[in-house]
Amino acid sequence: MSGFPFSAIVGQEEMKLALLVAAVDARIGGVMIFGDRGTGKSTAARALAATLPPIRAVDGCRFHCEPESRDDCPDPCTSKRVRKIAVPFVDLPLGSTEDRVVGTLDLEKALAHGEKHFEPGLLAKAHRGFLYIDEINLLEDHVVDLLLDVAASGENLVERDGLSIRHPARFVLIGSGNPEEGELRPQLLDRFGLSVEVKTPDDIDQRVEIMRRCDAQERDSAKFAAKWRGEDAKVLRQIERAKKALPKVKTPAKILRDTAALCKTVGADGLRGELTLMRGARAFAALQGDAAVTLDHLKTMAPLALRHRLRRDVLDETGSTVRIERALEELFG
């Protein structure tokens, strides 16, 4: 069955934008999606991964290494053949054990042949693709710890079960969760470049349209996918063009100053907020086909890049988004 096409997702513009921006510039880091169930969070992430063009990988490599960077691979990784594979999309279920996430000793090989062999975990599977964690706020603490370091360093270091292995694990981390069910550790939040808040659309027409499309997809997914193939190809071209244009997009000095001023006004912690906002605005400009970052790009990206980085004031009930909008209004009118 074909998945749901990215371009067929109704509404949720902010979430789609965040995913596209993250796809254009991997350095931005992952996307955290806050919101209720049934708002298309996992559908959108999955659909985007499926839209992206296949990647080139060394044939038979368990870490699907890029042929040019096979030196980092812990396996021999010697095959001359290159295979095209779909962009990996890995679900990390809530109950995952450490073994399952980081990988473990391949017991069968150890017992039958006395060979020490690493059995890759979910982190290896997600390399060069997406790692999706639904209800990330309910994930057990020690699993979060594992993720934090790997997401920051881009490699998985295994020193357990008598193994000593390191392998690259660079992925776009996509988390989703409902803040009503528990808060997220701030350290984990910071690893996400962007965050979005999704709501069930309250517009009746939009809801009807969602029902119609889901129904059509269920009845004949191939036909539905075919219908949207053109649109998805457009999205893909947009991403490709943006990726190519990204190094050339200019960031005027004034925009840098505005970025810094904004981060200072809203009280975003640390330097990472500024860097992410700058990169995000640049990627957005590239997506729009603009040659330079403008204030509009900055304003659009500001809530996405900053809302999860504000120090929360317990006694101030004003939401982060409102605080950012207020600051934007104050600074830029």
């Binding site: 017992l111 603490d141 020690h142 357990r160 079960d161 008598g162 009503e180 640390g270």
Partner: protein, 574 residues
């Protein structure tokens, strides 16, 4: 106690420049300084670590230890595959052995397991091993294990730093300009010791570090004698971040006596004839210490956060050994079943050395068959964070309810704001008119709590007994889930509505006393916070029946409430 201006100065006065200096001093002499702790994740620290590792790598191995490391890998152990293949025990060295004369890089140091930390500390004590702690802690009470913090000279805070260019410009290959300088005078040692005492530093390790740091600083600076600024640097970098009290000149204890070591004589700079300038020196150093205490340490000194108790402190709820879930804590002999999970690899590792003998014994030498006996079986053993649950039972009766409710709401929110760090939950019961109502079932979610609290109504009679029963039910349910409940009762103790809804002051009082005694018998810990404007004996009586603490807080303040409740909750967990 201190003027606000001072605090602000302290917040900004431990700048990046000092961290960079600490990094330079550490790279110059990694073995004798033990290591460095870099707190505050972000691009600045990433850049600095890259630089630091680059400088240390030529000197010896630099090994990164992931948080998921197990003790066996750290200490070395049986190589399972090789042992099975070879039919004899094959040992494999652990990471600590491999890192000898080198450096361990420890990411997310605030989350390191104490057992792992203890092994590392031991290895540091036994050999030339230094460590770099990358502390991602954000709250004041999130910090790396004390055994490790104690053994590293420098505690640097990079949380507010943003100057990437300064890091890029850092030069780490500096050669000592005055390599001969090796020790300092007794007087100068004494002044360091006095500052340490004034800062409430009991351990001797920091003093040794301070001395080495002073000398290292003099060498880098090219001083052929120890200058005041060298001592000041040591005070700022080594002593101030460890302060447990705010240094005050008058409190400085007399200089500690220490015998000059033999090495003092040959290379010692100058002599002891500087007593005239020693008096201002001490003040100078105390001042340096006072200005350099980092903000999160100030928080602890001034009691704005609970002092971490033993081990890593109470930041994440107490721990409970568990055979089912939680963070893996290694394995132990045992038979799987009733929730215990087989630790297959460890079981095989135990069985591996016996294979040759067992094959011979059983006459079944078929390769690929592993002979396992019951005694080989190992099971996983996990550590679960025991959650605490604070049940607020709030008297929402009468006209003064509004202000109390506001305070209770404030306290609930304050506790919840820390809940994601401490893994504690909060519930809220309100009682008014004819009965009690659970307004907020146990939760960790601030968003949800806020919504429930904003709907909290007030007014009417005081069905205290009903409130107690509702709180007790929550507490008992929490216990069944493995949580440790604490009840915080905010009331004036004057119940006047009985369980059946009838209004009778004396009847209600008797009923209430009975229920309270029953709760005390169950061992549910509680605190009664008397919020009436003029405290009367009723609430104190209730506390007595509950065998709980009594706290009159006529003008209850959220923060004071939280402090009082947490002290009771902690006692319950201990």
């Amino acid at each position: 106690m201190r003027p606000v201006a001072d605090q602000q100065a302290a917040a900004t006065d431990f700048p990046l420049a000092d961290c960079l200096l600490a990094v330079r001093l550490f790279t110059q002499n990694p073995d004798s300084l033990g290591g460095i702790c870099l707190r505050g994740f972000g691009p600045v620290r990433d850049a600095l670590v890259e630089k630091l590792v680059g400088a240390l790598e030529p000197l010896g191995p630099v090994l990164k230890i992931p948080n998921s490391v197990d003790a066996e890998r750290l200490l070395g152990g049986l190589d399972l595959a090789a042992t099975l293949r070879g039919g004899r025990s094959v040992w494999r060295p652990g990471l600590l052995e491999m890192a000898e004369k080198g450096v361990l890089l420890l990411p997310m140091a605030e989350r390191i397991d104490e057992n792992i930390a203890a092994h590392i500390a031991q290895a540091m004590d036994n050999g030339d091993l230094s460590i770099i702690l990358l502390d991602d802690g954000m709250e004041s009470d999130e910090a790396p294990p004390k055994v490790l913090m104690e053994r590293v000279a420098f505690h640097c805070d990079l949380a507010g730093s943003r100057d990437l260019e300064a890091v890029a410009a850092l030069e780490l290959s500096s050669k000592d300009r005055v390599p001969k300088l090796r020790s300092m005078t007794r007087k100068k040692r004494a002044s360091l010791a006095a500052v340490a005492a004034a800062c409430g530093i009991g351990s001797v390790r920091p003093l040794l570090f301070a001395e080495r740091c002073t000398i290292g600083h003099a060498r880098i600076a090219g001083h052929d004698k120890i200058a005041n600024e060298d001592l000041q640097a040591a005070v700022r970098l080594v002593l101030a971040p460890r302060a447990t009290q705010f240094p005050q000149g008058e409190e400085a204890s007399p200089p500690a006596e220490d015998e000059p070591s033999p090495s003092d004589q040959d290379t010692s700079e100058g002599d002891d004839q500087q007593s005239i300038e020693d008096i201002p020196l001490e003040d100078l150093l105390l001042e340096a210490a006072a200005a350099a205490i980092p903000p999160h340490i100030l928080d602890q000194i001034e009691g704005r956060v609970r002092q971490p108790g033993k081990g890593q402190g109470g930041r994440a709820g107490n721990k409970q050994q568990s055979s089912r879930r939680g963070r893996p804590k290694g394995t132990r002999p045992g038979v799987p079943g009733s929730g215990r999970r087989l630790a297959l690899i460890d079981t095989l590792r135990t069985a591996a050395p016996w294979q040759t003998i067992r094959r011979r014994e059983s006459g079944n030498a078929e390769p690929g068959k592993v002979h396992i006996r019951k005694a080989d079986l190992r099971v996983h053993h996990f550590e679960e964070r025991q959650e605490s649950l604070t049940i607020f039972a709030v008297d929402a009766s009468g006209s003064s309810a509004l202000s109390r409710l506001a305070e209770a709401k404030g306290a609930v929110e304050l506790m919840l704001a820390e809940a994601y760090v401490k893994r504690s939950q909060v519930a809220l019961v309100a009682f008014r008119k004819e009965g009690a109502e659970v307004l907020l079932p146990p939760t960790r979610s601030l968003t949800r709590a806020r919504r429930a609290l904003s709907a909290l109504p007030g007014g009417g009679g005081t069905p205290l007994a009903a409130g107690l029963i509702a709180a007790r039910q929550l507490a008992e349910a929490a216990r069944k889930r493995g949580q440790t409940p604490t009840i915080a009762l905010l009331t004036d103790g004057k119940g006047n509505v009985m369980l059946d809804g009838s209004a009778s002051r004396t009847g209600a009082r008797e009923e209430m006393q009975g229920i309270a005694r029953g709760m005390a018998a169950l061992g549910i810990s509680s605190i009664v916070i008397d919020i009436s404007p003029r405290p009367r004996p009723e609430a104190a009586e209730l506390a007595e029946a509950l065998r709980g603490r009594y706290l009159p807080l006529p003008k209850a303040q959220s923060a004071a409430l939280v402090a009082a409740i947490e002290s009771v909750g902690k006692a319950a967990m201990a």
